[in-house]
């Protein structure tokens, strides 16, 4: 077998120190993605640092009305949290739209943000993939790419980020709390994931050894009117063909504020700033929502098999906003 060492620290500083000293180490939380990838030979860490004994498994209400979610809070627990359900329904719905009950019982908040793409070429060591094996090429670019990116892809990589949770967090302007050997710092969620560019193997802006310890949600009263809409190829247990997270604040029929993020379209959760600009300050209508989505997608470049993602993303934008507007 291929041996690896296993640590299960109880202090964050210890975890960061152990991992930082090992160039081929990886954090292990729920293991719902990493263990599969190890079996497939896609990831081959020498050292696993199990973070599930770290004191990061609580959800804490913040004085300013926000919420601090520990990195090892399980997806099921977070989805069921009464404050999440009340104040951030988009988050609860995104969590429950993901994976299966069994997986949600294991998967963690931090791990979910760091899960790897489900591009089939990435997961098969017999096929070219720059993300898995830099320089080997991107087999997906001209291969079976129905599930892959329409926005912001590069010749080197057309993968999508698979998380539902991350899409909701992008819409909520979440902040990721990170510990590394230099101490703690905040990373806005929007700055956590990278575009593929010429280095698709670098998926986040985190340095080696950095550990996500929590995700902070700012107070956002408007998020009480929020929703996550996911379309997939079967009714459950499938990654998104398209998804949208939305927060809508209407005042007298006019869009006072709106937050919109898309899943399944890019290498990272896609915050739809352009669409938001189109919507903000205007009287809401389905036509406006459609125009906003179109504005967001003007730079989309569909691949051979995924052109449907454009009308799909447009139609779910219209649906989710229209439903929020009438709720």
């Amino acid at each position: 077998m291929r041996p690896f060492r296993y640590h299960r620290p109880t202090e964050v500083a210890e975890a960061v120190a152990v991992l930082g000293a090992e160039p081929q180490a990886a954090y292990l939380a729920g293991g719902t993605n990493l263990v599969d990838l190890m079996k497939l030979g896609v990831q081959r860490p020498d050292v696993l640092v199990d973070v599930t004994r770290l004191p990061l498994d609580t959800v804490e209400e913040l004085p300013d009305g926000g919420l601090r979610i520990g990195a090892t809070v399980r997806n099921s627990d977070l989805a069921a949290h009464p404050v999440v359900r009340r104040d951030y329904p988009v988050l609860a719905r995104a969590l429950l739209a993901a994976a299966s009950g069994q997986l949600r019982n294991l998967a963690t908040t931090g791990g979910n943000l760091l899960q790897r793409t489900r591009c089939v070429y990435f997961q098969d060591t017999g096929k070219a993939c720059n993300k898995r094996d830099p320089g080997s090429g991107c087999a997906a670019l001209h291969g079976q790419n129905r599930d892959l990116a329409v926005l912001d892809w590069s010749e080197q990589c057309v993968a999508t980020h698979p998380s539902d949770l991350a899409v909701a967090l992008a819409a909520l302007d979440a902040v990721v709390e990170v510990h590394d050997t230099d101490g703690a710092r905040d990373v806005p969620l929007a700055a956590l994931h990278r575009s593929p560019g010429t280095h698709p193997e670098r998926e986040t802006t985190l340095a080696h050894g950095a550990l996500i310890t929590a995700v902070r949600l700012p107070a956002l009263p408007a998020a009480r009117r929020s929703a996550y809409l996911k379309v997939r190829d079967r009714a459950s247990f499938a990654f998104a063909a398209g998804s949208v997270a939305a927060v809508l604040d209407l005042h007298g029929g006019v869009v006072r504020d709106v937050r919109l993020a898309y899943g399944a379209v890019a290498h990272r959760p896609w915050r739809a700033y352009r669409a938001e600009e189109e919507l903000r300050g205007r009287p809401f209508s389905a036509e406006l929502a459609a125009a906003a989505a179109d504005a967001e997608l003007t730079e989309a470049r569909p691949l051979r098999h995924n052109g449907f993602k454009l009308p799909l993303t447009r139609s779910i934008t219209v649906r989710v906003l229209t439903e929020l507007a009438s709720s």
Binding site: P3, Q144, D233, A235, F237
Partner: protein, 696 residues
């Protein structure tokens, strides 16, 4: 004296063991000194292995051996070429299993497999079936031994002269059987004898294959197949896992456990071939068919010819004076396709029952009525009356239960919020056959009975059904009967496949029990056990060649999102005429399982091949979507009380496959009724229907 065990809803005899996890599957038997095998797939599509470098693998901790064509024990040639594994350096398709790494742990074997370096001399390949492929040819026969083409009357003239015509081409992708339990084997050699615990659908035929490959007398091979986690046809014969495990065990002279990975189930064990099917129907203005033509294309490997009998369904389903069916095949650089639940009938019925729906629209006639109008008491193919044919009764009862009478035939006429709603129907049929089998029955002085037969329970409930049949045949309460199946040391029996298992096995069981009762004269042995055996070869072989079929009618209601094109099933209902039903609980499971698999075929499953690599890239259950429970909001199966005296002593027709036949067409027809858009290439996914409100 009958105790009427048959017809009662007994729970599975092994149900408790299964749900508590104590039922042992092929690689779950504890074995002293066991080792683990991991199969290595070829990295090229077509070519020759020029070098196998095992140094690094052998240096890896725990690795005992790398078995490949250069060092593997020799197998006798002459049997199915797919099983002649590790014998030659030729590679026929990507993913062909070309080596086995044996190690002291599963993890070590997997790591060793990664470290085996194989060099290939690769050639160009062709892996995609197209209707104008230059290598299309007419096989000598189609699976298993049907004529390739049939012709009656003058199709071209009949078609040209008809007032109503349908000409449509349907496409189905590769479907992969994907049983829950992979093909898996524990193999051990002892004193020149081979013992395998193997996951298959028929231990007798696996034993015969192993005996021939390893040049052993059959008595020197024992195949134990106690529990099987599904097969859907892919375990209908010896496959790579059992041969590789036996080779590896012989090579290392230790027991070997070998299970294929999920990825390795996409290819080396068979799959349902992609099909391209052109169906032409002609009818008069009142819907009576005058001409039927079904031209089917499919693929096989360069190793073996497997010709899916796609159009055979059409030969006997509906009558018309002018009929033609053809099959054409291409040999590609792909794995050999094999049986998958209702081979031929399943894809063939999708095409024919879809075309019948198109004809109903063209004639302006209700699709249930259209099928009843073209019902026939005489098999159009054989020219003899069917032993029983209750297609029309299934359609009528199904229509009544489903609420079909209220249906507005106009497509795209119902809306439920954002959903377009529609319903569809299909007919279905499947041959009701039996094969020779043998069995023994023993009476014990304690009043108990023991029935032995090498039947296989692949999860269907076969063990329980045979136990019920035996009890009635013995005239005792089933609690007094013990049944043993799933071991090649038991009396020879045919495979669990072709919907023939229960018909074939129960025949031998009943005859053995009758023979035993004859010996006992209804008494109980006082001292020694009394046994009797039966072999039905003569009786089954002497059966008149009559058209025997099970029938069904499937109804589906779907909703399609008007903008995104998402398709969801509201409900599905099937009514079947399948002879006697031995156990309503397990029968219902078979029928709704088949219907669900048809739904899966219609909406979800698709093997996505990347022509550059020559293999299916979505080779796992995360990306090869199989219908989940949430996709099946309501499903019901019913059956008619049917008695057919021309079948077999138990009066059964088989229910493993009839459920899937027609189901995909019922769903596809419902999608048309909902949307007005006819999708003729499966699966019907949202990208084919997106913006459907603008499509029609």
């Amino acid at each position: 004296m009958s105790t009427d065990a048959v017809g009662r809803a007994y729970p599975r005899l092994e149900g408790r063991e299964k749900v508590t996890g104590t039922a042992r599957y092929a690689v779950e038997y504890p074995v002293d000194g066991v080792t683990y095998g991991w199969a290595v797939p070829s990295a090229v599509v077509r070519g020759r292995i020029t070098r196998v470098d095992t140094a690094e693998a052998l240096a890896s901790p725990g690795v005992l051996a790398v078995v490949h064509h250069g060092n593997a024990p020799r197998l006798a040639p002459g049997l199915e070429a797919d099983l002649w594994l590790l014998q030659e350096p030729t590679v026929h398709y990507r993913g062909e299993l070309v080596a086995v790494v044996v190690a002291t742990s599963l993890e070590a074997a997997r790591e060793g497999a990664r470290l085996v370096r194989i060099d290939y001399d690769a050639g160009p390949h062709s892996t995609v079936l197209t209707e104008d492929h230059p290598s299309l040819y007419k096989p000598d026969h189609v699976n298993p031994s049907y004529p390739t083409d049939t012709e009656e009357g003058d199709f071209d003239a009949g078609y040209a002269a008809a007032p109503v015509r349908v000409d449509a081409t349907y496409r189905t992708p590769a479907y992969h059987n994907n049983p829950m339990e992979p093909h898996a084997t524990t193999a051990r050699w002892h004193d020149g004898r081979l013992l395998v615990h193997d996951s298959n659908q028929g231990a007798s035929s696996v034993r015969a294959a192993l005996a021939e490959l390893f040049e052993l007398p059959r008595e020197s091979v024992r195949v134990v197949t106690d529990h099987v986690g599904g097969g859907f046809g892919s375990k209908g014969y010896a496959k790579a896992a059992v041969v590789l495990a036996a080779l590896a065990a012989r090579h290392v002279d230790r027991p070997v456990k070998l299970a294929l990975t999920r990825q390795q189930l996409f290819g080396p064990v068979g799959y349902r071939t992609p099909t391209i099917q052109r169906v032409r129907l002609a009818a008069d203005t009142d819907g009576r068919l005058t001409a039927i033509c079904h031209d089917a294309m499919s693929q096989s490997s360069t190793i073996l010819e497997f010709a899916e009998q796609t159009a055979v369904y059409t030969r006997s389903m509906y009558a018309a004076p002018h009929r033609r069916t053809t099959h054409r095949l291409v040999r590609l650089d792909v794995p050999t396709p094999f049986w998958m639940r209702a081979p031929g009938g399943c894809p063939g019925a999708y095409a024919l029952e879809s075309a019948m729906d198109e004809l109903a629209v063209a004639v302006g006639m209700d699709p249930v009525e259209l099928r009843i109008r073209n019902d026939t008491p005489v098999d159009p193919d054989q020219g003899r009356p069917f032993t029983s044919r209750n297609l029309a009764a299934c359609l009528r009862e199904g229509a009544q239960r489903f609420g079909w009478a209220d249906r507005d035939p106009a497509p795209r006429a119902r809306r439920d919020g954002r959903w377009l709603v529609g319903s569809g129907v299909a007919g279905s049929s499947h041959p009701a056959r039996a094969r020779p089998s043998s069995a023994t029955a023993t009476a014990r002085p304690d009043g108990g009975f023991h029935v032995r037969i090498n039947a296989t329970d692949i999860g269907t409930g076969a063990r329980t059904a045979l136990w019920q049949v035996a009890a009635d045949a013995l005239g005792v309460p089933p609690e007094r009967v013990e049944i043993s199946i799933g071991d090649s040391d038991l009396p020879n029996a045919p495979v669990a496949g072709g919907s023939m298992g229960t018909a074939s096995w129960s025949w031998a069981v009943i005859r053995a029990c009758q023979a035993l009762r004859g010996k006992l004269r209804d008494g109980v042995p006082t001292e020694a056990e009394v046994s009797a055996g039966a072999d039905t070869s003569e009786e089954v072989g002497g059966q008149p060649d009559l058209p025997r079929y099970a029938y069904g009618a499937q109804f589906a209601e779907v909703r399609v999102d008007a903008t995104t094109g998402e398709v969801r099933l509201n409900r599905m209902l099937g009514v079947f005429a399948a002879g006697r039903v031995v156990n309503p609980t397990t029968a219902r499971s078979q029928l709704i399982g088949g219907m669900t698999m048809g739904l899966s075929m219609a909406l979800h499953e698709e093997g996505l091949l990347d022509e550059r690599y020559g293999d299916w890239v979505n080779h796992d259950l995360a990306t090869y979507h199989i219908t989940g429970c949430a996709d099946v909001e309501s499903i019901e199966a019913y059956w008619l009380d049917e008695h057919d005296g021309e079948l077999n002593p138990a009066g059964v027709k088989g229910i493993g496959e009839i459920g899937i036949v027609g189901s995909a067409a019922a769903v596809a027809n419902a999608v048309f009724h909902a949307t007005g858009v006819r999708i003729r290439d499966l699966p019907i996914r949202l990208d084919k229907l997106i913006g459907v409100s603008d499509l029609a």
